[in-house]
């Protein structure tokens, strides 16, 4: 896995821990739901990650996109499925999402470069 991904993960975990250490009950419960909502239910985990990716892309949050691109790779999303999801997000969200697509595709390539 690329160094950039490893760095992203470590920083994300360290900062999440710092927030949760504050012991604010509502923030803690929110983080709990945020994990739970992507677990397999009526929809499988892969589909839920695609939903998270599309939502993050139209809302144009790079860190959120990075997280879901990594998770999509882990869930063995196929190239065509990734493209289809990006295409829906691009059409719904418009050209303003293109800079985020560029970074999402760069990461997607990095994650598959050693296969």
């Amino acid at each position: 896995m690329s160094d950039r991904v490893e760095k992203f993960r470590k920083e994300r975990e360290a900062l999440n821990k710092a927030i949760l250490d504050r012991d604010n009950i509502n923030i803690k419960r929110f983080f709990g739901i945020d994990s739970a909502v992507y677990r397999e239910g009526a929809l499988d985990t892969k589909t839920k990650e695609l939903l998270g990716l599309a939502a993050s892309t139209v809302l144009r949050c790079d860190d959120c996109i990075t997280y879901h691109v990594i998770r999509c790779a882990e869930e063995r999303v196929a190239d065509g499925e990734f493209d289809d999801t990006m295409a829906v997000a691009l059409v719904v969200g418009g050209s303003i999402t293109i800079p985020h697509l560029r970074r999402a595709y760069r990461l997607w390539s990095e994650l598959h470069s050693d296969e």
Copy 2:
């Protein structure tokens, strides 16, 4: 089908026609992609509609949500799949999406009331 859905469809079609009658080539081409992107590809139509629904919900567009809720019903999305999609959108987009969830669920109920 409920009268409200039929009225929504008719108004939507009439107004789309009015836009396309203007013969602006870029707007026409955009509408073409907007249809194409939800057609079966690497992902099936149902999954694409769920993506469209999640994206519309976090962007908080009632007309777009209405359209995708109707399409989800046509694609035989199960109740649990609908709930899972709404739950992801709610967590990603926050409580600001709740008024839209209310209207999405009301429509979902109407669409299934005569089954």
Copy 3:
């Protein structure tokens, strides 16, 4: 209290109930936090409602604004405090928030018209 407020409340409660009857655990937990977060803590309820009002105004959600305007009136927010909150939201969010300010002020007036 104005009829419009009473109607808003009833519709809101009925639709919330319809969502919660679906028994999706993540949506239910989200609604739980959404109530908890405005309860008195280090900040009092009035200040939290002003935060909710400012956040709803810059995100331009009429139903959310309506809810927090009603709650602000219940918490005995003074006219000047309401104005100060609206002014911050207007400057942060820009003229695009003005239509929402118009409706927020109309409701604020209605809520105080029989005092």
Copy 4:
């Protein structure tokens, strides 16, 4: 002029007056800039209204779009200029703006129906 436009204008003026009667100095000054910024400067009024229309469309505010569509008609914006502005807004903002385009075009037609 259509009744709908006249009604929009009257309600807008009445509600603006209600806000300004509150005598909050910051809100008053904001409303002052909001008028000033569309007056002729290095750019003429027509171009500024097109900027306001494009910005309002990508931010998806119906009342703001209505206002700028009316102003564009008053400034004798040509059909093709209106279409070009809408096309840029549609591509930048994505399909989520389409419901607003529908209403913008309906109003544009109404405003030119008796010519």
Copy 5:
């Protein structure tokens, strides 16, 4: 004070000066209101900064959040008050705000690390 904060301040001031040197009257007046709106009025400065922080967080603007976090520290906002404000913003704005919360909390820690 941390170096990062000092660097942020200097860059912000230099760039603001560059904008104001352009002598555009409307931009200048806007900057004037933007300062005025956070000054003590019916609400005290601390509450206004919390409003600015909540609004900036749900709108997901890192520079704006940085500014208000620094101002909150200057106004002696307590840890619990900061947490409560972040919790409201998180619930209203959803998980898409979490990357901003991470950076807000990191800065908040830095600002209190030498106390």
Copy 6:
């Protein structure tokens, strides 16, 4: 031209190429419209770039703003026209756009520093 601009251009082109190499027909067609929409039509290219700049500023996308600022400089937009466009965007979009204005003005200065 500044090195920063040259670097932005190269990275943008390389990443766009990487996206288009994927051969997703809908994404390709979207990129086609995204170019076409800024070409001279009823409105000239300069006005269209100002529309793109205003839309990108209120939507707060730095990469999009950078692109349109460069294009505006190429189209010989005058300083006053640039200021007028920024002023409209600032008033419509609010103080949350100010960090983007800062960076837009810094780039605008760089692009004109060797004239």
